[in-house]
């Protein structure tokens, strides 16, 4: 599986008492298998300040009837561009409250940048290809990371302190509170494990078709 190792350590504090803190979050699917594409946000208790950063434009590619990447992290104000690298047309839509849109993208073309100005998770699908799905995770959390194929999300240079960790995953059961843990980060590297209960991967063929009583 193609996984782009994608850890985004973001320095959000101008005044940092220490920068040596390291945190490893391991995420599995409850059966010992690593869960990739989980989004972990960390907030240090006591912090109140807002981190300002420059808006970025990220491209969600569509290749071989698949959105790439599956999960992308955005900061409020970031822009997203959908690019169709396939030879078929794609009907990209979102009914998510954070952003609703609908594009029919001809092969080889891209949409105009869409500004994601609201915090929230935006599920994007293709009305032509049911299995095409991608999630745009818009968050203003100071530290945010996405788990790699091995199910681990790495945080480095965290100021010492107690952190509240929250995990989101596209296959978590909807309507349930997201898993949360607190961890104390000091000089020594800390490790936190999340065991998630995940629904079947909607992208994999057969999962949705397999019904049961």
């Amino acid at each position: 599986m193609r996984v782009r190792h994608f850890v985004v350590p973001v320095l959000v504090f101008a005044v940092a008492p220490a920068l040596a803190g390291e945190l490893i979050v391991r995420i599995d699917d409850g059966h010992g298998r690593p869960a990739a594409d989980a989004v972990v946000t960390a907030r240090r208790e006591g912090d109140t300040g807002q981190e300002q950063h420059a808006a970025m434009t990220r491209i969600i590619d569509q290749r071989e009837e698949t959105f790439v990447p599956y999960v992308e992290i955005f900061r409020p104000g970031d822009e997203v561009v959908f690019r169709n690298s396939d030879r078929t047309r794609h009907h990209v839509y979102s009914f998510s409250p954070a952003k609703t849109f609908e594009f029919v993208i001809a092969p080889g073309e891209s949409t105009a940048p869409v500004v994601l100005d609201r915090i929230g998770e935006i599920s994007v699908g293709c009305n032509i290809h049911d299995r095409m799905i991608t999630h745009l995770y818009v968050s203003d959390a100071p530290w945010i990371a996405r788990s790699a194929a091995d199910g681990s999300a790495m945080f480095d240079g965290l100021p010492a302190g107690t952190y509240r960790l929250q995990v989101w995953h596209p296959q978590l059961r909807p309507g349930r509170p997201e898993p949360v843990q607190s961890v104390v980060v000091a000089d020594a590297p800390a490790t936190v494990t999340f065991s998630l209960s995940l629904l079947p991967d909607p992208r994999r063929p057969g999962d949705r078709e397999r019904s049961s009583y």
Binding site: F95, S123, D130, I133, R210
Partner: protein, 708 residues
């Protein structure tokens, strides 16, 4: 009896066949039924699993359909935009497409947001959260009870593209559904969906195409849900029933499918077998009956023949029975029986031969001769015939001298000569020493002539080695009808004649009744006398005696009360010769009573004067033989005169009997005979006649003579 034997044999055969067939049929039926039940159980076991699997398959397809509906962009868009009216109408529309009676939209929080059946109460929860829960992982389906109706509830998520809601499609579980399921898959025809009515009773909610009410029959028979194969009878037809619980919502009433396996249907292919078997049985019975009858006939017919033969043998018919048919036991029996019959016939023939023939000479014996002669007499009644009795005088001497063996050979030789001679007569050995020869149609002269010729034949001496034996043959002749009308009489009289011939010089004698001491009249007289005495029928007749001196008849006193001295008892010589001592005693007692005794028939017997002298006799009566010929025979006259003189000298009175002429009477008076008696004087007279005689004739003394 033969018929019943045949019938019994046939019946036994048929009964055995039928019994074996019925037993076999029951056995086969039992085995087939058990096998079919086992097969039914096996099929139902497979069927139950198949039902679940097939419902899975169908459910998957239906769920796919619902899922496709859920992916409808307009519907998703309406749902995402919470356009309730559009959502409701789309749900109705899509529900019709898949045959759902009720469509619901359920939020991810489990609250019903749209319901095609009823307006939604705010916050009303979908009643089957387990289905909703499962639906996010995979399309969920279950049979549920809702508002008193059973539904097949299928729940799928609505992806946009992540799950935003659930669509629940309620397809009514009823006969059309089951029919549709049966069209789509190979569900068994005998299937019934039942649900718990709430009180533990299972009621049917749908039946398969053949509409067999398994559940009610099971309940009626006292069964619960047949989770193990159970045999149940529905409207006279037998089924093996097996229930399988269907996947159901945890919140719903349990639902089960009862599958039925019709034993009758399963047995149907065996009906043709049974029909063929019945035909075979009928054929077998027919063939068996015919065979049994044939066998019975082959057994019974010879037995009947044997029985008939036995009856024939019983009546003395020894002709062999029909030759044995076949080589079986009956054939052997018939052959053995034929042999036996033949042997019996031969033996009887031999016995009859022995009974009718003399072993020494091979001639018919006396019995056979008598039978044959009697037969001849009866065949030609009144015809003349002569019976010759041939005796060999020297036979006793031969036996005493040479023994019985030689005697037998002599008799055999004589028999052979007689047989050779007697061409026109039948020779038989009448006694040990006598042969009889019957000459049919022969008169006296013929008989005598034949007799002499026979003597010629037999006088040739018997020759053996250096022996030459003269047998001294003699012949007695009895003539038919003069001497007797019966064969036995003739035989006896010929024998008497033979004895006479043997005693005399003349070797041939014709029977003379006068000299026959054995004539049966004597016996008859004795028994008649006894009988007459018993019946008081005895009548006395009187023959007067003429006293020659004064020619007067002695006084005849009154009939009752004669004094003993006036009675003279007359005795024949033979009467006292048999037991002389006893006779003398009796006679002396009579004499002592004053009764005079006279010797009757004097002169023809063998009495001697010496013997007479011992008897208390006062009178002798000269036999009539002498008086009858006094006229002509000088010898007799001399003899009579001598007897008279001798009697007188010995002190006896002398009476002459049988005086029939005047000359005889004169002569007797001349020679001094005391009395005369005879027809010339008077016949024997009845008492009345006696009185007449005395009334008309002169008086005189007379001694009463007795004549019966």
């Amino acid at each position: 009896m033969a018929m019943s034997f045949r019938l019994r044999l046939a019946l036994l055969f048929v009964a055995t066949l039928v019994a074996v067939q019925i037993f076999t049929a029951l056995l086969v039926y039992g085995v087939a039924r058990r096998a079919l039940i086992a097969e039914g159980e096996r099929q139902l076991g497979v069927g139950a699993a198949a039902v679940a699997r097939q419902l899975d398959d169908i459910s998957e397809r239906v769920a796919d359909n619902v899922q496709v509906l859920a992916l409808d962009y307009a519907l998703r868009s309406a749902i995402a935009q919470r356009d309730q009216s559009t959502v409701l109408s789309a749900l109705r529309n899509h529900g019709r497409r898949i045959g759902a009676e009720r469509m619901l939209l359920v939020g991810l929080d489990g609250a019903i947001t749209s319901d095609t059946a009823t307006p939604v109460d705010n916050g009303e929860k979908f009643p089957f959260p387990d289905l909703a829960e499962a639906a996010l992982e995979h399309a969920a389906a279950a049979v549920v009870a809702m508002d008193g109706k059973a539904y097949w509830m299928i729940v799928v998520p609505v992806y946009a593209p992540e799950p935003i809601a659930l669509i629940a499609a309620g397809i009514p579980v009823d006969n059309p559904l089951l029919a549709r399921l049966q069209q789509l898959s190979s569900l068994p025809n005998t299937i019934e969906l039942v649900t718990d009515a709430g009180d533990g009773r299972w009621v049917d909610i749908a039946r398969g195409s053949d509409k067999v009410a398994l559940a009610s029959a099971l309940i009626a028979a006292g069964h619960s849900l047949p989770l193990q194969p159970t045999v149940v009878s529905v409207e006279g037809r037998e089924y093996v029933a097996l229930a399988t619980r269907l996947r159901e919502s945890q919140r719903s009433t349990p639902v089960a499918a009862i599958l039925g396996y019709s034993l009758d249907d399963a047995l149907r292919p065996y009906r043709s077998v049974a029909l063929a078997w019945l035909s075979l049985l009928a054929l077998g019975l027919g063939a068996g009956l015919i065979g049994a009858m044939l066998i019975a006939r082959s057994v019974a017919q010879p037995i009947e023949t044997l029985a008939a033969t036995v009856h024939r043998v019983e009546t003395g018919d020894y002709t062999s029975p029909s030759p044995a048919r076949g080589r079986g036991e009956i054939g052997q029996l018939t052959a053995a029986f034929a042999n036996m019959t033949h042997a019996i016939g031969e033996r009887e023939e031999r016995i009859r031969y022995q009974a009718t023939h003399d072993a020494v000479t091979g001639l018919p014996n006396r019995l056979a001769a008598e039978t044959a002669i009697q037969q001849a007499l009866e065949n030609t009644p009144g015809a003349a015939g002569a019976l010759l009795m041939v005796g060999l005088a020297r036979l006793p001497e031969i036996i005493q001298t040479l023994g019985h063996t030689i005697c037998d050979r002599v008799m055999r030789d004589a028999g052979g000569r007689l047989r050779q001679f007697a061409a026109r007569g039948s020779v038989a050995r009448a006694t040990d020493a006598q042969f009889s020869l019957w000459l049919e149609g022969a008169a006296k002269a013929d008989a005598i002539a034949v007799a002499f010729r026979i003597l010629d034949v037999l006088r040739e001496p018997y020759q053996e080695a250096d022996l030459s034996i003269d047998t001294a043959p003699a012949i007695g002749i009895a003539l038919h009808p003069q001497h007797g009308g019966e064969a036995s009489t003739l035989l006896r009289r010929a024998e008497v004649a033979l004895i006479a011939a043997l005693d005399s010089e003349d070797p041939v004698a014709v029977y003379d009744p006068a000299t026959d001491p054995h004539r049966p009249e004597r016996l008859t007289l004795m028994s008649d006398l006894r009988e007459a005495l018993d019946r008081n029928e005895l009548r006395l007749h009187y023959q007067p005696k003429l006293r020659l001196a004064d020619r007067r008849i002695a006084d005849l006193l009154s009939l009752h009360g004669v004094a003993p001295r006036n009675i003279v008892l007359e005795l024949t010589e033979s009467a006292v010769m048999d037991k002389p001592e006893m006779a003398i005693q009796v006679l002396k007692r009579l004499a002592d009573q004053g009764i005079d005794l006279a010797i009757d028939d004097f002169g023809v017997g063998q009495s001697s004067f010496a013997y007479l002298r011992r008897l208390p006799v006062r009178e002798i009566k000269i036999d009539r033989l002498f008086a009858q010929k006094l006229d002509e025979d000088v010898g007799d006259r001399t003899l009579v005169r001598s007897i008279v003189e001798l009697g007188h000298r010995l002190g006896y009175r002398v009476t002459a009997e049988g005086v029939e002429t005047r000359a005889a009477l004169e002569y007797l008076r001349d020679i001094g005979c005391d009395h005369a008696q005879g027809y010339y004087i008077a016949r024997p007279l009845a008492p009345e006649a006696v009185e007449n005689v005395f009334a008309s004739g002169g008086r005189g003394s007379a001694a009463a003579g007795k004549k019966a």
